[in-house]
């Protein structure tokens, strides 16, 4: 088992390098996030109070959609070029490989969204308390979105245009995350209770998603 950490480190390095280079989709998520947040006020109209009230919800829906963007390639790129076969020939369990790929995906898409959310929240006129709550809830909630999305990405790995199917599979599953994420961010029922439930959802996703996704990938490889 000595070879295990070094294989996973190498995988993380590789995925981060691919995401940051030309053709990687690392910065696209944040730009898409910005686009969604920027066009909402045009649709809602110039009502500062309304925007501030629905701001957390807008940020959360935008983060959800931005996470979905590019998630279909999470395993598909590796399946197409034969890397997935080599994952299966490795000593490293596929579940850990899935987990590390999710970590790389979150570092490249989720974390920039969290970092950008206070700025974008300011654009929607959120107050200081709401800014902090939105950022904290996104920080805890976006890993769950990536992990749940990984199950969908693994299920649709062999489909040429799996992106749409992925969205249909994943959006219903992400409703609980959205509900408690927005509840914590909006603060209508207090911050702590929904935030802790959100933490719980993320931990459940962390425990289950790697196994579900690895199972789907093993069947997809056949």
């Amino acid at each position: 088992m000595k070879g295990l950490p070094s294989a996973l480190r190498a995988l993380l390095r590789r995925d981060l390098a691919i995401g940051r280079r030309i053709g990687g989709a690392a910065s696209l998520g944040v730009i898409f996030f910005l686009c969604l947040v920027a066009i909402t006020p045009f649709a809602v109209g110039p009502d500062q109070a309304l925007l501030a009230r629905i701001g957390p919800a807008i940020l959360w829906i935008s983060a959800l959609l931005a996470t979905l963007l590019g998630l279909d390639r999470l395993f598909q790129a590796d399946a197409e070029d034969g890397s997935l076969d080599l994952f299966l020939l490795s000593e490293t369990p596929l579940e850990l490989i899935v987990l590390v790929k999710c970590l790389a995906h979150w570092l490249l898409t989720g974390l920039p969204l969290v970092a950008a959310s206070p700025l974008f929240g300011l654009m929607l006129g959120l107050d200081a308390r709401a800014l902090g709550a939105v950022t904290a809830s996104l920080f805890v909630g976006t890993p769950a979105l990536t992990l749940v999305g990984a199950i969908g990405a693994a299920l649709t790995v062999s489909l040429r245009r799996g992106g749409l199917l992925l969205a249909i599979l994943i959006l219903p599953l992400s409703i609980p995350i959205l509900i408690f994420g927005v509840a914590a961010a909006a603060g209508a029922v207090g911050f702590v209770t929904p935030f802790l439930i959100l933490c719980g959802l993320t931990l459940v996703a962390l425990a289950l998603a790697p196994f579900a996704a690895a199972l789907a990938l093993r069947h997809g490889a056949e």
Partner: protein
């Protein structure tokens, strides 16, 4: 080390690709799998690597080891598993970390050495997107040198390679056999190594 397969049969999409196939290879022996397109050569290699389930039959590696069969095999398929945005060096160093076995084998060649052996010394720092099909193939084959695994499953290993590189790959294969390794290769070309032949598909079976 020996590998023994008996009564293998693989089904894909409800169709039996081949049935009742068997062979036995001792250390230092090679097997060439031949047959027309669609005869099941690639399917057999994938099944041997453990990437496809068997409908019937068994594959045994002797002596039995703790490692899964997949961990004893190198599989080089049609897809090169080379990422275009990474350099040849980055690609191979990732693959050798991924495929490395624990405990590491002493005296394992460095990634640079492996690439140089395949004649890629001059392009190690070039993104793989700029490599030709033959160079990508060589970068994929370099993992055979960089990481030791006893059983090599090669699917058309010489595709897209020029004559000089074909000779190098055949040398590497011969050296692996001399070390006591096992090679099972699917091919249309005749490989200049001593090997048994397993013919798949109807035309071969019709022959007496």
């Amino acid at each position: 080390m020996q590998i023994e397969a008996s009564a293998l049969s693989v089904e894909r999409g409800g169709r039996i690709v081949f049935a009742d196939l068997g062979f036995r290879l001792k250390a230092g022996e090679a097997l060439l799998v031949t047959g027309p397109n669609g005869a099941g050569k690639s399917t057999l290699l994938r099944a041997l690597a453990g990437l496809l389930p068997l409908a019937a039959g068994r594959i045994e590696v002797i002596p039995a080891s703790e490692a899964r069969r997949a961990e004893l095999c190198h599989y080089v398929g049609h897809a090169d598993a080379i990422k275009p945005s990474l350099t040849a060096f980055e690609n191979l160093s990732f693959l050798s970390s991924l495929l490395a076995t624990s405990p590491p084998r002493p005296g394992a060649p460095q990634v640079e050495t492996a690439l140089a052996r395949l004649g890629l010394g001059a392009v190690v720092d070039l993104p793989a997107a700029y490599l030709s099909a033959g160079q990508k193939r060589r970068a994929a084959l370099a993992r055979l040198v960089a990481v030791f695994r006893p059983i090599w499953l090669l699917d058309e290993p010489l595709t897209a390679l020029d004559l000089a590189s074909q000779a190098i790959v055949l040398e590497i294969m011969a050296a692996h056999l001399a070390e006591g390794g096992i090679i099972i290769a699917a091919t249309h070309a005749t490989l200049a190594i001593a090997a048994a032949e397993l013919a798949l598909g109807r035309p071969a079976r019709a022959a007496p």
